[in-house]
Symmetry: C2
């Protein structure tokens, strides 16, 4: 038994598993946070075994943080949102996991982010971090927009902004395309002398690399660079279109989350900005909310 729980109440574990890390949170029935832990990557798309290892790792860290013994894993009711399990084959693989918990309720990272943002109530979220997408949950019906991946999708995300910047900078350095403040900003940031060095450095880089170049677009746009402004216009319009495709009449609560939120927010159309409210809780708390909803049904 979980020893320091008040009158043997059930404890919940919330898991938010993404491509770079896995967050765990232990919460009692009244919503009090007892412990947290962070483990390694947990997107099963990059390996189911890696994901399950990271999930258990983060859970054990959260147990330790809450001063619970390790064998209490088997007494936890778990809500878990994972990146990647919107793909049916990965959802099935993770469902077949012989997990060490009392109960495990699996859903997508988008679902728990939405539940957390709106404290379990109906609403929608847009995410702009390394990737981008939108998600709505209303009356138990979910709708997902985007989340197509890099390099062909995820407009308005960090990776997409960085990719567009690299593309325009290389064309501009070639003399095809307009001069841009981004050219020197990017060469300097990446410590490149010329376009050939840039081409060599950029080759075969993943989404995360390009996401770290997104700030160049925003900085150059702030200085009225037209090429940067044009890129921003395309990306922000896409995010606004996601918002419009998720919004309903009467309007539902909507939040913008992800690492690029502060950069993107001021560029969004006033109509869309008017819909946005801050997320109430983080995704791992949304995972707890999901577990509680499932156990009650």
């Amino acid at each position: 038994m979980v020893t320091n729980s008040v009158d043997n109440q059930q404890l919940f574990l919330g898991i938010d598993g993404g491509g770079s890390k896995c967050k765990a949170i232990i919460v009692d029935q009244t919503g009090v946070i007892l412990g947290t832990g962070v483990g390694g990557p947990a997107n099963p798309f990059h390996g189911v075994e890696q994901a399950t290892t990271s999930i258990v790792e983060s859970a054990l860290l959260a147990l330790a943080d809450a001063n619970f013994p390790v064998d209490n894993l088997s007494e936890l009711v778990v809500g878990m949102g994972l990146a990647g399990v919107n793909l049916p084959s990965l959802f099935q693989q993770m469902e077949q996991w012989q997990h060490p918990f009392k109960k495990l309720f699996l859903t997508t990272d988008l679902h728990i982010a939405c539940l957390g943002a709106h404290q379990g109530n109906d609403g929608a979220i847009m995410i702009t971090g390394t990737g981008s997408c939108g998600y709505r949950s209303v009356n138990g019906e979910a709708k997902m927009v985007g989340a197509h991946g890099f390099p062909h999708g995820d407009k308005g995300s960090g990776a997409w902004f960085g990719l567009q910047a690299v593309s325009k900078v290389l064309m501009s350095l070639d003399g095809i395309g307009q001069p841009s403040l981004m050219n020197q900003m990017m060469l300097k940031h990446l410590n490149c002398d010329n376009d050939l060095a840039l081409v060599e450095l950029i080759a075969n880089k993943p989404a995360g690399f390009f996401a770290q170049l997104a700030f160049i677009v925003f900085d150059a746009a702030d200085k009225q660079d037209q090429t940067a402004i044009n890129i921003l216009h395309v990306g922000i319009t896409y995010l606004a279109n996601i918002a419009r495709s998720l919004q309903l009449t009467p309007t539902i609560r909507m939040s913008l989350i992800g690492g690029l939120t502060p950069k993107v927010l001021p560029w969004l159309a006033p109509e869309v900005q008017g819909w946005l409210e801050p997320p109430i809780s983080p995704p791992e708390m949304g995972a707890v909310i999901y577990a509680k909803q499932q156990i009650e049904t």
Copy 2:
């Protein structure tokens, strides 16, 4: 000695090394082709050892094809154009190769393609295959445009057209973006039931995969699909701008080469079409021309 050469004349080996294969050709001093061979991938960007292995392999096959003994490798004067060696670090690595030939003259795949297309005379080429770029050689001075790589560059290439098509199809299936004939064409071609299956299939695919989808853009554009026509417009405009940035007054000879040439040609502006003439010889013959030029200087 090379036994069946007329009065002990020097024989030349031309090498055209790319990312998927390495072509070799053995030619006598008068330009008569004595033998040919095809080896494995020879772009040193994907491994210097693999490249040198493929080069020797193709050379031995060409020797065998010409009924020469294997030890004649050491009597050949070699012209070699390789993809990837426009990057200085790779050029240096390949220059340091302890090769088995009498002499080896190394240059880029673009240079030998240009020499071949114009039989060693001044001129320019544009390439649109899996990737895209432009190259000009006039009065011994070279200019390269593009060749930035996938996914951030190489507009107007097969990989770029395929990537754009996937991006637009996924947005359209999401209800963001216009309906397009390409949606069903792509789902059918890739044997996908829906957008989620398409997202799963597309994930982490290399440039070559996207290049095989380029035909969908051209086929849909032929049927007046506006989304496809818009993609074509952007890609073709880039290729036309490459042509304009390479053309001089008075005009120089210019050729369009690469697997996508027949698809792209009819869409180019009449001004650009008017500049284009068929390539005279293939790149491996351009490599021989390069060796002859070098040995004479």
